[in-house]
């Protein structure tokens, strides 16, 4: 999985992005620690995606940065200034919400102009800026429509235009694509990235969808229980997961028994390099990606195909080892037809670094 938009590094981008720093953020709800000393640095103009299961604290982190909730500890810095105690309406941040948040009694254009009106921008400049923003999101023709006359995807585009119209220091996206259907989701995801690169605003994007996070972010932060497990560019998170949790959460993984010795792990008779070469010797569980597993029909093979499914551009095959362990493999779709259930097969493993857990 690679970034669909090869982009200049955040520092090289145009625009007016500022640095954001969350330092030791803590937030507790009753006995639950939603954030447990979160540290996060975002470079000017960078798009960081926070990814994690529900309840991992990613949305809380975004809401604390927005000022919509108060911290129980830690500081928030934007452009070097401590904004921890600044109320949400003075933080100068644009936000797009998961729920449709357009003001129902205002037209598209009035919605986009709302923030500018509050900033007392005069009529002509306001109208010009709103038109510019609607053009950016491709909705100039819908300027006089009311939210209930538009589709979910269009509403989220207008919400994005409204958030960007005020030229915010930071753009916050709180699962903006969750309520949309799959096709619109991919389109809007790519559009968000295009627009973010065009305006160069520092952006924090929260999602539970790994494809979204890996697809548009400069860096992906994987969160668990109120803290970051790993933050790195998408390809690194995928190919070099820092922990078994990241390997498990981002993409699919087979958990196979192995044995570490001499900075490599032996799995199913194959020696594979380790993501962390300093791992101590001994028996381990190796997390192997389905795309690293090759399936080859062979009369002498000891494994048996359990099921095979055709997924369009590729196929997914489930194979049972003699001891009953199931292994998931991703194969070219052309190979799926030959892999009917009960076919005897041999497995091969590609020599890519794997994560292990003791």
């Amino acid at each position: 999985m690679t970034d669909a938009h090869p982009a200049p590094t955040p520092a090289e981008r145009p625009g007016h992005g500022v640095a954001v720093r969350l330092a030791g953020l803590r937030r507790t709800y009753g006995t639950v620690h939603a954030l447990d000393g979160l540290d996060l640095d975002i470079a000017p103009g960078e798009l960081v995606a926070l990814l994690g299961p529900s309840g991992c604290g990613k949305t809380t982190a975004l809401r604390l940065l927005a000022g919509l909730e108060e911290t129980d500890g830690g500081r928030v810095y934007v452009d070097g200034k401590d904004v921890t105690d600044v109320p949400a309406n003075r933080r100068d941040m644009g936000m797009v919400f998961q729920a449709y948040s357009l003001f129902p009694h205002m037209t598209t254009k009035e919605n986009v102009e709302f923030g500018l009106r509050l900033r007392r921008v005069d009529g002509a400049a306001r109208s010009e800026r709103a038109s510019e923003m609607l053009e950016l999101v491709g909705l100039s023709a819908q300027a006089n429509r009311y939210p209930h006359q538009m589709s979910g995807g269009q509403q989220q585009r207008v919400a994005l235009a409204r958030a960007l119209a005020i030229r915010p220091q930071v753009l916050l996206l709180d699962e903006p694509l969750s309520a949309l259907d799959a096709k619109v989701r991919v389109q809007l995801r790519d559009e968000i990235r295009r627009i973010q690169l065009e305006v160069g605003t520092t952006t924090l994007f929260v999602t539970h969808d790994q494809e979204e996070a890996l697809g548009i972010a400069d860096r992906v932060g994987v969160m668990r229980a109120g803290n970051l497990e790993q933050i790195a560019p998408p390809d690194v998170v995928y190919t070099h997961p820092a922990t078994p949790f990241v390997a498990d959460f981002v993409g699919l993984s087979n958990r196979l028994p192995g044995h570490v010795s001499d900075a490599a792990v032996e799995v199913l008779g194959h020696r594979l390099p380790l993501v962390d070469p300093s791992t101590g010797s001994g028996p381990v569980t190796a997390l192997v990606r389905p795309e690293s597993v090759g399936v080859h029909p062979s009369d002498t093979g000891s494994a048996r195909v359990v099921s095979a499914s055709f997924l369009g551009s590729m196929g997914r095959v489930s194979v049972a080892l003699p001891d009953g362990t199931l292994v998931l493999a991703q194969v070219p779709s052309s190979a799926v037809m030959a892999l009917t259930p009960s076919t005897a097969v041999e497995l091969s493993l590609a020599a890519v670094p794997v994560v292990v857990e003791h």
């Binding site: 919400f97 449709y100 509050l118 209930h148 005020i166």
Partner: protein, 274 residues
């Protein structure tokens, strides 16, 4: 099978007409009697004199001062009660919904309380309070606003609660805050416009209730329309019935407008794409 269904349908139709007919007679007959009574002239003739006097303001003021005073007081009370009710309820209910949802049951209970307390009990409780109100604010009938605001709470609460439930107040207010709006702006420019129908419903119901209130005003020795009508009935029955009829018609028109507002809201929701 078809015969059974059509027989049942016919029976239901007949039942519908019987219910409608009975209800119509029940409501229309007294009103017809009121109209008949107010248009009685000498020796079995018909006259509109009473009604002419009612709509001739200078004549009404001169001949029926108690009615004029009551009418003015009720009009003022209706406006002030609506304003105070909205100022009190809209921000409170919005705030409870956003920040203190655990208090929503308590607020609902408090707002519905006047519904189960008889007016006479409220008066007994309010009498000592009103001694202070009169001491601080004077003896104007408009001080009844406080008592009436309590009286309209159950109806206004229900109307506003339905309105607040139909919009995502939390997301809308958070969106407005992130765009730079303070709480005042959020109330006036985001919450209120989206509660337009609910606010109108609450206001209409409050006005109808205030115009029909007698017990509290009478027992606290204040004047309002119903107290005026009561006084008038002792010296001019025809006029007092005419005013009662007019007040009833006005309340009916208000409730009719209310149903129109509700109807429009329903249509709009139906038009919204899924």
């Amino acid at each position: 099978m078809a015969g059974v269904t059509s027989r049942r349908r016919r029976r239901q139709r007949v039942l519908r007409w019987v219910v409608l007919g009975t209800a119509t007679v029940f409501f229309v007959l007294p009103m017809f009697a009121m109209l008949e009574f107010t248009t009685r002239g000498m020796n079995g003739t018909r006259t509109l004199q009473t009604w002419r006097t009612l709509f001739d303001v200078p004549l009404l003021r001169a001949n029926y001062p108690e009615l004029w005073v009551g009418l003015k007081a009720s009009a003022g009370l209706a406006v002030l009660t609506v304003v105070l009710m909205l100022v009190l309820l809209v921000p409170t209910m919005t705030w409870v919904r956003l920040r203190l949802p655990q208090l929503s049951r308590l607020v609902e209970f408090l707002c519905l309380l006047p519904l189960i307390l008889p007016a006479i009990v409220i008066v007994v409780g309010l009498a000592p309070v009103y001694a202070w109100v009169v001491y601080l604010l004077g003896d104007s009938s408009l001080t009844l606003t406080f008592a009436y605001t309590i009286l309209v709470l159950p109806y206004a609460y229900r109307a506003l609660d339905a309105g607040l439930s139909s919009i995502d107040v939390r997301t809308l207010s958070e969106a407005a805050r992130s765009l730079g709006a303070g709480w005042g702006t959020i109330m006036v420019r985001i919450v209120l416009p989206n509660l337009r129908n609910a606010v109108l419903s609450a206001a209409f119901l409050s006005v109808a209730l205030v115009l029909g209130e007698f017990t509290i005003a009478s027992l606290l020795n204040q004047s309002n329309l119903q107290v005026g009508i009561n006084l008038l009935s002792k010296r001019n029955a025809s006029m007092s019935i005419a005013v009662s009829f007019a007040a009833l018609a006005f309340a009916f028109i208000l409730l009719f407008l209310l149903s129109l507002v509700g109807g429009r809201r329903g249509t709009r929701t139906a038009e919204e794409p899924a």
